[in-house]
Amino acid sequence: MSLTGSQILLESLKLEGVDTVFGYPGGAVINIYDDLYESSIEHVLTRHEQAAIHAADGYSRCTGKVGVAIATSGPGATNTVTGIATAYMDSIPMVIITGQVPTQLIGNDAFQEADMCGITRPCTKHNFLVKNVADLAKTIKEAFYIARTGRPGPVLIDLPKDVQVAITDFNYPDQVNLRGYKPTYSGNPRQIEKAAEMLLQAKRPVLYVGGGVNLAAADDELLKLAEQTKIPVTTTLMAMSAFPQRHPLALGMLGMHGTFYANMAVTECDLLIAVGSRFDDRVTGRIDSFAEKAKIIHVDIDPTSIRKNVEVDLPIVGDLKDVLGKMHGYLNQRVGLVEDMVESTEEWRATIDEWKERHPMTYRQTKSVIKPQYVIEKISELTEENAIITTEVGQHQMWTAQFFSFRHPKSFVTSGGLGTMGFGLPSALGAQMAYPDRQVIDISGDGSFQMNSQELATLVQYKLPVKIAILNNNYLGMVRQWQQMFFEKRYSQTVMELPIDFVKLAEAYGATGLQTSKVEEVEDVIKKALETPGPVLMNFNVSREENVLPMVPAGKAINEMVLAS
């Protein structure tokens, strides 16, 4: 079958199971868009290429599928870079198609030319420039394979305009053969046994769980192992929805804004089992005192994560579903020993419970002004935690991690590694495209929201009933908090001098806008938003100088927390 390059692209996407793509047209992808005109693939037109990438990213985070986005060459392509870097830092499987100037013009500083393979090399798992249409199908096959296997990540395909119109026979390969890429899925059984033995000996064990559990869809295996051994579980920002947060073994988040009891448990534990986590600096605080009393087991599919930041006593390279499942199976054959272990760790759990009682997650409730944490608790309660929550980046993001009681896997979509403001609204858009019938809520700050607020147009155009909750303090709150604590309250460029009328902004796009400054109206506003069809923006004017606590100041050990009074 003879097809053009752009037809090959769309046929290949269908064969990869892609039914939705996000993008923005332009001169160098006009042929692809011409073929999309009659294609069965649904294309969502965002209002900015960065948003298209975040939308595909959000789509991927809540489904586990590969997110796909398209942008034109030059500025369209460079606009995708923040989105690609966001996905790369959080290991999100994506395929990004960018148009490129015709091959004979590459390197000539042609109109709308940018060296995308050069620009995205450090923020993609891999990238391709397709110079010959005969290589296109194979390249797409490889791109999807690389994106979704091993430690997942974004893959970019740069597609020159002449390759899009060139014609060749279309044969989609059914196999990939990459000599240099063979990820290890099956964990070494000896290592797994050793880990299980270490676990049976431990008196004060903690599971330290990261985003890898989402990526491996190993939440079930994690829950089974935790319940079998009664080992307390602390989750990173990326893994908040990978373990039910109301579970008695849940310690909540650890690290810079972690709970008192999670940080204490990690500091005092004698065995730390790191699962799909990478000892990020926001998690460890001062690295030499992180879990310094503990032996460390580190399970990860990516060997470079192991021993990158900390020494490890027992490394296991493999897929978490495989490793945790096998560990659970091994322990299942040693029921007596497991019972002994559960008994001998009773005291440890009691200690943790004391910590929980001494310093629970809390904030000072007031009658006169809305506390941002209160809004989040109410959203959690009123949605019964069935919603998919996205966030931007800053104080509201930390409060969401602290006060929303996640209980469904893949229900928390947030930019962890890169910390990208403006991520929440477009990723909510992507999540809603994936799940038209689920409630999707973007919890936002007034600063972050304005970084991609143009996507209100996309929500309205595609009738996506995303609800947006802006916790509005008229500050860039997280930076303000640092300035307050460490820079003598010199609020340099963090005061958002111009109060925006977000209700009018929503209405200008044809969405519904609601707002309140009164504590007693919060619940009603949320209920009304949830009942109103279509996109609704809720603006909550909240306590302006509320701080995210606990907080571990930069350079301190994680047990040196500033606590809420």
């Binding site: 090399r121 450090p122 990459l178 000599r179 240099g180 890429y181 060997p303 470079t304 021993r307």
Partner: protein, 163 residues
């Protein structure tokens, strides 16, 4: 500590920038880097000399392996291996130095490959320390230009990089 690492990579567009970008992006050192097609013409072989402590070297090896374009990485440092570098040295030769320059070249089993009234150009092959040695002896005469290839390495006996 100095390490010599051989990397077999796909001989394709942009592969050198993937390797060099990995080193610069992660703050690893490159002391020298040489690249040429490998036995299999679809592959290139790189020899990288780098420095760092054990933790950094482990990361360098792992990160190189992680690249999709990398077929094989071999850190020779702990292995039995042979290393050779080529240098061409243009040295100023005043009439009274010409005999001495030839003698030095002879001692090092180097060759004079170009002669002009005022210079000799000397070709030498050997371990990097040998090249350092001849340079030290020639320096007093006045080095006009020196070009070194950076070392290439191969394992002794069965130890090798070929897939």
């Amino acid at each position: 500590m100095k390490h010599t690492i051989s990397v077999l990579v796909e001989n394709e567009f942009g592969v050198l920038s993937r390797i060099s970008g990995l080193f610069s992006g992660r703050g690893f050192n490159i002391e020298s880097l040489s690249v040429a097609p490998a036995m299999d013409p679809e592959l290139s072989r790189m020899t990288i000399v780098t420095t760092g402590d054990d933790r950094i070297l482990e990361q360098i090896n792992k990160q190189l392996n992680k690249l999709i374009s990398t077929i094989k990485v071999l850190d020779f440092t702990s292995e039995d291996f042979l290393q050779r570098e080529l240098a061409m040295i243009k040295v100023a030769t005043a009439p009274e130095d010409r005999a001495e320059a030839l003698r030095i070249a002879d001692i090092f089993r180097a060759k004079v490959i170009d002669v002009t009234p005022k210079t000799y150009t000397i070709e030498i092959t050997g371990v990097p320390a040998k090249i350092d040695g001849i340079l030290e002896l020639l320096r007093p005469m006045g080095l006009k230009e020196v070009v070194r290839s950076g070392p290439v390495a191969i394992g002794r006996g069965a130890k090798g990089v070929n897939p």
